[in-house]
C-alpha cells in the first residue's frame, strides 16, 4: 500500500466519521441527561433536508455569499432542535416512553423532510448546491500543491467543527456546572431534585441540544459530502451513531473513537475494493467489514458498558 493510499484511507475516515460524530454527540447529551434518544436518525434526516434546502433557496436569493452555507447549517441545527423539542415534550413533560417517541421522531423526520422537498422543489431530491454555496474547505488553498496532505486534510469545515465539538462537549460535561447537573440528572434525578435542580429544564435543554447536533450531522452530509438531499441520504447513520455512542460508553471522547473506528474500517473496505485482490471479492462481503470489525473490537475491549443510571426513565415527582 502506497503512502497515497494511506492518505486517502485517512481522508475517507475523517469524511465518513463526521456525520456519525455529530449523531453520537447528540446521543451523548440526551442520554447523559437521562433521555434515551433513538430518534437521531430522524433528526439527522430533517437536518439534512433543512440545511441543503435553505442553503439552496438562500443562494438563489442572495447569490453565493459566504454566509449562505453557514446560515443553512444553522437552520439545519434549528430544524433538528425542533424535533428535539418534540422529543422533549413527549419524554419529559408527558413522561412518554422515550423509545416510542424516538421511533415517532424517525417516522416524522423522514416524512416531513421528503414531504417538504416535494412541496418546495416538486421532487424528492433537492437541487444541488453550487460548489461556492457548499460548506467551505478551510485548508483547500493551503494544500493545493501537496496532494498527499490534501487527501487527508483538505476536509470540509464540518469535519473540523465536529472534532472541536467533541472537545467542547467533553469540557461542558466534565468541567462545567451545567455538565455536572446534566450528569446528575441522568444518574439520579431525585437527588438533583432534592438539591433544587430543575430536572425538567435540564432535560429539555439536553434533548433540544441533542436535536441540534443531530441536525448538524445531517447537514454535514447534505451540504458537504454531497450537495443535495435525497430520501436515501440518511440510511442508518443515525443508528450507527447511536451504537457508536454506546460503544463509547456514553462519553464524547469514547464516541469519537468509535466513530473513527467505523470510519476507518469503511475506508479500508473501500480501499480493498479498489485493489486487484479486493476486486475479486464480492462487494457484498466487503461491505460487511465495518460491522463485523466493530463487533470483534467490542469483544476484544470487553464491551462492558453502563448507561447513565436513570437513562430511559421519565422523572416523576411524588414517586420514588
Amino acid at each position: 500500500m502506497e503512502l497515497r493510499d494511506l492518505a486517502i484511507i485517512l481522508g475517507t475516515t475523517l469524511m465518513y466519521c463526521t456525520p456519525l460524530i455529530y449523531g453520537a454527540l447528540a446521543g451523548v447529551f440526551s442520554e447523559n441527561s437521562g433521555v434515551v434518544n433513538i430518534g437521531i436518525e430522524g433528526m439527522m434526516t430533517i437536518g439534512a433536508f433543512a440545511g441543503t434546502a435553505s442553503g439552496f433557496l438562500l443562494q438563489e436569493a442572495f447569490g453565493n455569499v459566504w454566509w449562505v452555507p453557514l446560515l443553512g447549517f444553522i437552520i439545519a441545527g434549528i430544524a433538528g432542535g425542533l424535533f428535539g423539542l418534540l422529543h422533549a415534550v413527549a419524554s419529559v413533560t408527558f413522561k412518554a416512553d422515550q423509545v416510542i417517541s424516538g421511533i415517532a421522531i424517525n417516522f416524522l423526520g423522514g416524512g416531513v423532510g421528503i414531504f417538504l422537498a416535494r412541496r418546495i422543489f416538486a421532487s424528492t431530491t433537492t437541487p444541488a448546491l453550487p460548489l461556492e454555496s457548499k460548506i467551505s474547505r478551510p485548508l483547500h488553498g493551503l494544500l493545493k500543491d501537496s496532494p498527499i496532505l490534501a487527501s487527508v486534510f483538505d476536509q470540509f469545515s464540518t469535519v473540523y467543527f465536529a472534532f472541536f465539538l467533541v472537545a467542547l462537549s467533553w469540557y461542558v460535561l466534565y468541567r462545567t456546572k451545567l455538565g455536572l447537573r446534566i450528569r446528575a440528572v441522568g444518574e439520579h434525578p431525585k437527588a438533583a431534585d432534592t438539591l433544587g435542580i430543575n430536572v425538567y429544564k435540564i432535560r429539555y435543554f439536553s434533548v433540544i441540544l441533542s436535536g441540534i447536533l443531530a441536525g448538524f450531522g445531517g447537514a454535514s452530509l447534505s451540504m458537504a459530502i454531497v450537495a443535495n438531499f435525497r430520501p436515501t441520504l440518511i440510511s442508518g447513520q443515525g443508528f450507527i451513531a447511536l451504537a457508536a455512542m454506546i460503544f463509547g460508553k456514553w462519553k464524547p471522547q469514547g464516541a469519537l473513537v468509535a466513530c473513527l473506528l467505523f470510519g476507518a474500517t469503511t475506508a479500508i473496505q473501500i480501499y480493498l475494493g479498489g485493489t486487484e485482490a479486493g476486486a475479486g471479492i464480492s462487494t457484498h462481503l466487503l461491505s460487511m467489514i465495518p460491522y463485523v470489525v466493530t463487533i470483534f473490537v467490542l469483544i476484544g475491549f470487553g464491551g462492558k458498558t453502563s448507561a447513565p443510571a436513570a437513562s430511559g426513565a421519565a422523572y416523576e415527582k411524588d414517586e420514588r
Binding site: R4, T232, Y271, G274, L286
Partner: protein, 322 residues
C-alpha cells in the same frame, strides 16, 4: 406479433382517452432518475396523444403486486412496471389479470403472455459512446468506472464503457470499482477520490446516488465526470462532459403510441438501442466535448446501428472481443 385483441384497445380509444399508469420502484416518481424519466414519457404522451397518465409509488417490495393490482382496478388500459426489481410481480399480475395489458422497463421475459410487453435497453451502446469520448479525452490515459451494486444491468454499462474506451484508445487504463450500494454517496466520493488520486481524469458512473458522491468530487477537484440515465450536466455544468442517457421516456411514449394505434406488441420483448432512440449520449455533450470527437461518435453510432460494431453487454462478450 402485433395481433392483440383489437376491440379491447379500440373501445376506450373511441369513447374516452387512453389511461396509462405506472408503478414506480422504491425510488419514487421524482427520483431524478429513470422513474422520473418514465413519468416524463407518460406526460409527453399526455400532451401529444391525449393519454390520461397516472402513477403509484412503492415503498417496499411488498407494494409492487398490490400497486399493479390497484392500477388495474383503476381501469387503466396499460399498466407499467418500472424497473427489473418488479419483474416477477409484473409477470404474475399479467397471469392474474389476462384482460389487462402490462409492460415493464428493464426486464426481458422468456416467453411473455399476450398481455405482457418487456422493454430492455442496450445501455452498453450508450456506454460505448461515452467510453469512446472518455478514451479520446483522457490526458492521463487513465479513466474510471464506478458501479452501484453488481447487477447484470450495471454490467452492461461497465463493459460497454470499457469497450468504448479501448476502441478509442487501446492502451488506456480503466479503473473499475463497485460500491456495493446505490445510496451511499460517501462511498462514491472516496472511490472517486482514490481514482482521481491514481490520476484517472475522467470517471463514468452507473451507481445512482452513490455516483453523485463522485460528481461532487469532480466538482471540487475540477475533474471530468460522465453521468448516467439522465443528462447529469446540470448537476455540475463544468464537469459532467456527457451522460449515457437511457430514454425510458421515449420507450414509454412509443408504447403509448402503439397502443393508441391499436398495435400494442404484447407477448414480446422490445430492446431499445441507439437504433430505436432508446439510449444515447446527452445532448449537452457539445458543451465540453470537442466537435471532432462528437463527429466520430456520430459515425460510431451509425456503425453500431448498422451492426458493424458489436458492443459487449457482459464480461464474457467483452473478453471475447480481444
Amino acid at each position: 406479433g402485433a395481433k392483440p385483441e383489437e376491440p379491447q384497445t379500440e373501445e376506450p380509444a373511441k369513447e374516452e382517452a387512453l389511461k396509462i399508469a405506472m408503478v414506480t420502484d422504491v425510488g419514487g416518481v421524482n427520483d431524478k432518475s429513470f422513474n422520473q424519466s418514465a413519468w416524463e414519457g407518460l406526460q409527453k404522451a399526455e400532451n401529444e396523444l391525449g393519454v390520461k397518465p397516472g402513477y403509484q409509488e412503492s415503498k417496499q417490495e411488498a407494494d409492487y403486486s398490490s400497486n399493479l393490482e390497484l392500477l388495474t382496478d383503476a381501469g387503466n388500459d396499460l399498466v407499467w412496471g418500472i424497473g427489473f426489481l418488479m419483474g416477477s410481480q409484473v409477470e404474475q399480475a399479467a397471469k392474474d389479470y389476462p384482460e389487462q395489458k402490462f409492460a415493464i422497463i428493464d426486464n426481458y421475459y422468456e416467453n411473455p403472455s399476450e398481455n405482457l410487453l418487456g422493454i430492455t435497453f442496450k445501455e452498453q451502446e450508450a456506454s460505448f459512446l461515452v467510453g469512446y469520448i472518455a478514451g479520446k479525452m483522457t490526458k492521463t490515459n487513465k479513466v474510471g468506472f464506478i458501479g452501484g451494486m453488481d447487477f447484470a444491468v450495471i454490467h452492461r454499462f461497465d463493459y460497454g464503457f470499457k469497450a468504448g474506451v479501448k476502441h478509442a484508445n487501446p492502451d488506456a487504463e480503466i479503473l473499475s470499482q463497485y460500491a456495493g450500494a446505490f445510496d451511499k454517496p460517501a462511498i462514491g466520493r472516496s472511490i472517486a477520490e482514490s481514482m482521481y488520486a491514481k490520476d484517472a481524469d475522467i470517471i463514468f458512473h452507473a451507481a445512482g446516488d452513490t455516483g453523485n458522491g463522485m460528481i461532487e468530487v469532480a466538482k471540487e477537484k475540477g475533474k471530468y465526470a460522465i453521468g448516467v440515465d439522465k443528462d447529469q450536466n446540470p448537476d455540475a455544468p463544468e464537469n459532467v462532459i456527457t451522460s449515457a442517457v437511457k430514454r425510458v421516456d421515449n420507450a414509454i411514449y412509443n408504447v403509448a403510441k402503439d397502443l393508441k394505434e391499436g398495435n400494442f406488441k404484447g407477448g414480446t420483448n422490445i430492446t431499445y438501442g441507439l437504433a430505436e432512440g432508446g439510449v444515447d449520449i446527452a445532448p449537452s455533450s457539445d458543451k465540453l466535448v470537442p466537435k471532432e470527437i462528437l463527429d466520430e461518435v456520430a459515425k460510431l453510432k451509425e456503425q453500431i446501428i448498422a451492426g458493424e460494431i458489436k458492443v459487449p453487454a457482459n464480461k464474457e462478450e467483452f473478453e471475447a472481443m480481444k
